[in-house]
């Protein structure tokens, strides 16, 4: 157990489906990205770290606290900001009401201090001008920002963000990256995403989960490096490639064992991830 968050042999099943299968991993200060296809176990792992669900077996340790005990859970929750994949939104709540409600749940008892903090986090995500609008009247991207705001309450030491950039347009994603760069200062941030460019831009480390098991732990550069000399472009599709797709400029990008005269290109994180998934024989939706 070396990191702020450590998992040792952690398993979680839902009926016959083993969502997380005996994983061992440490999460350290900085931003760690969880990559994997739908159903890989990312959300379940994040929920266990965030004390939303309990592990069936194995040992989790978060800042020295055991989330399987009531006291441990409480201590972890006091240092946690959590963004679920699909937060619920009370139809009558404004953005301010929503974040204020979560602040109460996070033990911000003093009204004046609580409201200051609510205004602060809503300002941080750029929603100060619409904070009193009903959530039902906000766009999907704005709702996502409201949900991100509640996770930032109290500048938590551990941030668990499940697909934080889902629903954000490219410009908002860019702003989110800047925001997280500041928020992650000294904190341990765990985020899941399907956007490999988010991982490349945001994360110090990347963990690839496939079928409930960890297949890769390293830097985004290391993941991209796995596809070194395995990525090439051509004008037509090559049947020998593991994965191939047509890019925006009409060329076909291939991943696999290149032919001798292949025009090799510098691999990206996405290339490394797709190659890893293919080697593990796990179906992954094509590149975004």
């Amino acid at each position: 157990m070396n990191g702020d968050v450590s998992a040792h042999g952690v398993t979680k099943a839902f009926g016959p489906l083993v969502a997380v299968d005996g994983i061992d991993v440490d999460f350290e200060p900085g931003v760690t990205g969880l990559l994997g296809p739908n159903g890989a176990g990312k959300t379940t792992l994040m929920r266990m770290v965030a004390t939303v669900v309990a592990a069936d077996s194995g040992r989790l340790d978060v800042f020295g606290h055991d989330p399987s005990t009531g006291a441990g859970r409480l201590e972890i929750r006091r240092q946690l900001g959590y963004l679920p994949q699909e937060p619920g939104f009370h139809r009558n709540f404004s953005a301010f009401d929503f974040v204020d409600y979560v602040a109460i749940l996070k033990e911000w008892g003093d009204r004046s201090a609580r409201h200051d903090e609510v205004r602060r986090v809503l300002t941080v995500v750029g929603l100060a001008s619409v904070m009193h609008k009903r959530i039902g009247r906000l766009s999907g991207g704005m709702r996502r920002r409201v949900a991100i705001a509640q996770a930032l309450l109290g500048s938590p030491r551990l941030l668990v963000l499940d697909e934080p950039t889902a629903g954000l347009d490219p410009e908002q994603r860019l702003r989110f990256r800047e925001l997280l760069g500041t928020a992650a200062d000294g904190a341990t941030v765990l985020l899941s995403t399907h956007q490999t460019d988010d991982v490349a831009a945001l994360c110090n480390r990347v963990v690839v989960l496939l079928a409930g098991r960890i297949r890769f732990v390293g830097s985004p550069g290391d993941l991209a490096q796995r596809a070194d000399e395995r990525v090439w472009t051509a004008s037509t599709r090559d049947a020998r490639a593991e994965v191939a797709w047509v890019t925006g400029d009409g060329a076909v990008r291939h991943i696999g064992t290149p032919p001798v005269d292949a025009q090799l290109v510098v691999p990206t994180v996405e290339d490394g991830y797709l190659l890893l998934a293919r080697e593990a024989d796990v179906a992954v939706v094509g590149p975004s």
């Binding site: 965030a50 859970r73 959590y82 619920g88 404004s94 008892g109 409201h115 001008s129 500041t182």
Partner: protein
Amino acid sequence: MSNTWMGDPDPSETAWHAPRSLIDRFAVDPGGVDSAVAASFEAHLVACARCRDAVTERVGGVVLEDSWRRVASLIDTPHLSILERVMIRLGVSDSTARLLGGTPALTLATLGSVVTLAAMAVATSRITDSAGGFLVVAPLLPLLAIVAAFASVADPVGEAAVPTPMHGVGLVLRRAAVVLSAVFMVLGVADLAVGDLNAPVVAWLLPALALPVGALALGTWFRAEVAAMTLGIGWMVVVLGVRWTNGLHTDFADSTTFAPPGQVAAFVLLLGAAAVVVVRRDQFQTMEGVR
């Protein structure tokens, strides 16, 4: 984390700023400024950090900054429901009232449904000249309220509420107590409306306590909807089964369910369910228990 979402206007900056003369007059003697101008300027100050700073500098002191914080806080206070206001009047803190009141079980729609169903049960009893209809329906209403309070979509902020320090058995029990108090007030009035027909009308009380507590106990294994539906169906099966055993000519009010043996059974169920809630209280802390 003091940066803002880049590209959006900083809400503390506006294009217009008050002239120095207005700031001076407002700082020295706010009452001397025309009331319409003062109201407009006060509204502007809430949004404009530069003008606030100018007034603060003129007046000088921390007191003013604190005053603005309190004003802003007051303006930002969420709209309170009637029930939240009642709770605050009764001495409950505003934050607790918000937590307890922020459940669909206490919306007018849900309480209206409870009142309507109670009224229908009373009407049935009055028309048939028997308390049976009311006795059968009354215990189901607290169950309905528990579903509304703890169904998987019930929490106002959904899953975001789960990994928070306040989430757990304490919040569940307090919320259940408030919800059940509201429902029992309705049932109490309905009980009076039924009057002293041919049975001890208060015989609904123990089953009406046992069923929702039973739903909370079962909710440590299953979703609240499943738990409540199971108990609701179970209640109807028991009521109809006992009446069939007693003879179909028997009035519901005279069946064993509402006689001392039935009351003892309901009491035992209540105690057992309460014990399960206590023993399995940790389940309420995660998403695997009712929220």
